[in-house]
């Protein structure tokens, strides 16, 4: 497949850029943050986004979606990264819809995906338990009960957890910590007795929750796919999620870089613009080169999802690791090259570094994915 965008994709990208800049950009993020908004996004703006059909982009047509694929979704996420958009696109579409599609039974897909594609319900993945992404170390237990399972344990970093209507909960029904066998995905409604959802305040001020399960009872029909066999579907869900987050990081890093280059052309010291100092010029030029590489690896990984490429796991880790590296560098250099003003909350560059580190961390950071990339490359 050629590594270029189709005309249709370009149109989608441009319309996403327009809407997000107007309705869900940095000013809206600041307003939500400063108001201490519980959800961290506006339901009203989300409805407008839903009317455009974006939540249905990756959902197959058979389940009420657009069946447009992940390359298209990646373009929207890249724009969301540029604008630091506060929306549930990541939690509910990139991850939630994908989890149902990859892990759910036919009945679950029919019951939920049309509403997810319409943006009417939000589904969030509840996976991480400790300080780091370590899915095979899942310890939340689901014990078999008379007509289903009883859940005990806790989860953290559940994106938009306060707004979610359902959770895809990864639990252990068999096996020991560290084993991929014995993991089960369960569909749990938000209001179920014994489940507490608590808001957590992270550095990027988006809505994130921690969940606690105390004897939460779910029916046998909550099991997604087959009990104990969630790993292949979970693994693919995570690969897709990481490529989507790499798209978001691409947009974010590119925007941070553009802000920086604009400042280099504008700020004067020693009687000339600081962009005339070669010490800064070379660093900007190097970053430009890195961002071009980053753009290519993200596009290649997005296309690998849609093409069902068996190399997806390796490409997903490659894209995520590369984008973690480049986003970290672009945001760090962004602050440094701005000087004092880069340290102020008033200026936007700081918001970019904050969002970057949270996205970098979700579903495995640079160290995790570079290591995984090496393993999947056979060394």
């Amino acid at each position: 497949m050629a590594l270029i965008l189709t005309e249709e994709e370009v149109m989608l990208r441009d319309s996403a850029a327009g809407l997000l800049a107007e309705k869900a950009g940095v000013p809206q993020l600041r307003a939500l943050r400063d108001a201490g908004d519980e959800l961290g996004f506006s339901r009203e703006v989300w409805r407008e986004i839903a009317e455009l059909g974006w939540p249905g982009i990756p959902v197959p047509e058979a389940y009420g979606g657009l069946g447009y694929g992940y390359t298209g979704l990646g373009l929207v996420l890249e724009q969301a990264g540029r604008q630091l958009s506060p929306t549930p696109l990541q939690s509910a579409v990139l991850v939630g819809a994908t989890a149902i599609n990859e892990l759910g039974t036919e009945a679950q897909k029919q019951a939920l995906l049309p509403a997810v594609a319409a943006g009417e319900i939000l589904v969030s993945l509840a996976l991480q338990e400790g300080p780091h992404h370590a899915p095979e170390h899942t310890a939340l237990v689901a014990t078999a009960a008379a007509d289903g399972f009883t859940l005990n344990g806790s989860k953290c970093l559940v994106l938009d957890g306060l707004a979610a209507d359902h959770f895809v909960v990864i639990a252990r029904t068999a096996g020991a910590a560290g084993e991929t066998e014995g993991l089960t995905a369960l569909l749990v409604p938000a209001g179920v007795p014994g489940l507490t959802v608590e808001r957590r305040s992270l550095v990027d001020s988006r809505g994130v929750a921690a969940l606690r399960f105390i004897n939460v009872a779910v029916g046998a029909d909550a099991v997604m796919g087959e009990a104990g066999a969630a790993w292949p579907g979970l693994s693919r869900t995570l690969d897709i999620a990481n490529v989507g987050l790499a798209s978001e990081l691409l947009g974010l890093a590119t925007r941070a870089f553009e802000l920086t280059v604009a400042y280099l052309k504008e700020r004067k010291q020693f009687g000339k613009v600081i962009g005339s100092f070669q010490g800064l010029q070379h660093r900007a030029a190097e970053l430009f080169a890195e961002l071009e590489l980053a753009r290519s690896i993200v596009l290649q990984a997005l296309q690998a999802i849609d093409a069902n490429d068996p190399d997806l796991p390796k490409l997903a880790s490659a894209a995520k690791a590369k984008l973690c590296e480049v986003a970290q560098r672009a945001t760090n250099e962004g602050i440094q090259m701005h000087g004092g003003i880069g340290m102020t909350d008033e200026y936007d560059i700081g918001l970019y570094i904050k969002r970057a580190r949270v996205v970098q961390h979700c579903f495995g950071d640079y160290n995790y994915h570079l290591d995984r990339f090496a393993r999947l490359s056979g060394f």
Binding site: P131, L157, D204, K268, G340, D345, K354
Partner: protein
């Protein structure tokens, strides 16, 4: 027992008796550092007790002469005091711009009257100072500063604006660079003057940092009166003083590069676990941490080497020019590693579960270390031009 050993024994006994137990804990963050002043911010009442007791002996500034509120200690004794404080993990009783920046400059360039008036209140934490150097159009190019001071006989009238003035809204006095003459080169005509921040015409507007706190300000001067007796050095010759003071500021900032008690590697092992052979499980992270710890070790060896050379009378070597640059870059690397090692809790911002976001706020604050006190780029330019003699 020789004199130094006796001094050590006495110091140990005095510290044991006088250092409150709560002051034998490392500070928990910027807010926990005692800075004194007319309206001191007191995180714990023992801070004031500890400061007062130490100030009575002159040990807030052990090497300053006694007549200026110091301890009058020689280098060797000061080192013993430092070692004995470190032995019981005693904090420094007072940390301020007066101690680390203005004091050394006044001792070197101030006249006797100025030393007697301004040094003792610094030593006992009575007056807190801020630094009025940077302006909106004079950051790295500090010498192009434009804040004007007009000669009015026994005083000047000051008009202009400073920016990024740390703690200007909390400080009592300011040491300020002003332009008294515009006719020569930009380095000439700069004067170094002191005045009270409570003077009519001074206003400050706090600026919030990305780390959430508001320690620095925009500072405006509208016909502010500053007496000539508070002009340090000669009129128009302030640049030399300004630069001398900066070498002390940078020393303080580069000190952030010193390795913490618990190493990043140890924390990583606790949080992320070991493989079967006891190595940190993730090999990529292990290498990054090892590289950082190696550089931190070599950096502190360099600080010691330069210090020992200076003590042996060999003067401050060229190696000292790398301190600010390297120390702050190291501190940024350490904070970046704290984030990577800490994972989800380190990304926290508010709330008890996240300890108020201590890790992320420190990480964000550390980004300023390579900007304040002369940016990394300015430091590298100085090394390239002044040390290596490379042409412009």
């Amino acid at each position: 027992m020789n004199n130094l050993e006796q001094f050590r024994a006495e110091t140990r006994a005095w510290l044991e008796e006088n250092c409150p137990l709560s002051m034998r804990e490392p500070v928990s963050g910027f807010e926990d550092i005692y800075t004194g002043g007319r309206h001191p911010e007191v995180a714990h009442p023992d801070q004031q007790v500890w400061c007062e007791r130490m100030a009575q002996r002159g040990w807030t500034v052990p090497q300053w002469p006694r007549e200026y509120g110091g301890g009058g200690l020689g280098k060797e004794e000061a080192k013993v005091l430092q070692q004995e404080m470190a032995r019981i993990n005693a904090r420094r009783p007072l940390d301020s711009f007066g101690i680390s920046m203005l004091g050394p400059a006044l001792l070197h360039f101030g006249n006797e009257e100025q030393k007697l008036e301004h040094l003792p209140p610094i030593a006992c934490g009575e007056i807190r100072w801020c630094q009025g150097y940077s302006e909106p159009n004079a950051g790295s190019d500090l010498a192009s500063l434009q804040t004007r001071a007009e000669d009015q006989g026994d005083h000047y009238i000051i008009n202009g604006q400073k920016v990024w003035t740390s703690y200007a809204d909390k400080a009592d006095w300011i040491f300020c660079l002003v332009r008294t003459d515009n006719s020569g080169s930009k380095h000439e005509g700069i004067s170094f003057i002191l005045f009270d921040m409570a003077s009519p015409g001074v206003t400050t507007r706090p600026i919030r940092l990305i780390s959430g706190s508001s320690p620095f300000c925009e500072t405006f001067f509208d016909n502010v009166k500053a007496y000539k007796r508070n002009l340090v050095g000669e009129e128009g010759k302030g640049w030399t003083i300004a630069k001398y003071l900066l070498t002390h500021e940078r020393e303080m900032i580069s000190g952030f590069g010193a390795a913490p008690k618990k190493s990043v590697g140890e924390s990583a092992l606790e949080i992320l676990g070991a493989d079967a052979s006891g190595r940190l499980a993730n090999g990529i992270l292990r290498q990054t941490i090892a590289q950082y710890q190696l550089d931190a070790l070599a950096f502190s060896a360099t600080m010691s080497r330069v210090g020992d050379e200076a003590k042996a009378g060999q003067g401050l070597g060229a190696a000292s020019s790398i301190f600010k640059y390297y120390g702050t870059e190291l501190n940024k690397r350490r904070n970046e590693l704290n984030m990577a090692v800490g994972g989800e809790p380190a990304l926290g911002w508010e709330g008890d579960v996240y300890d108020g976001g201590g890790t992320s706020r420190d990480w964000l604050r550390s980004k300023g270390n390579s900007i304040e006190g002369g940016t990394t780029e300015v430091q590298l330019n100085i090394i390239a031009k002044r040390v290596l003699g490379l042409p412009d």
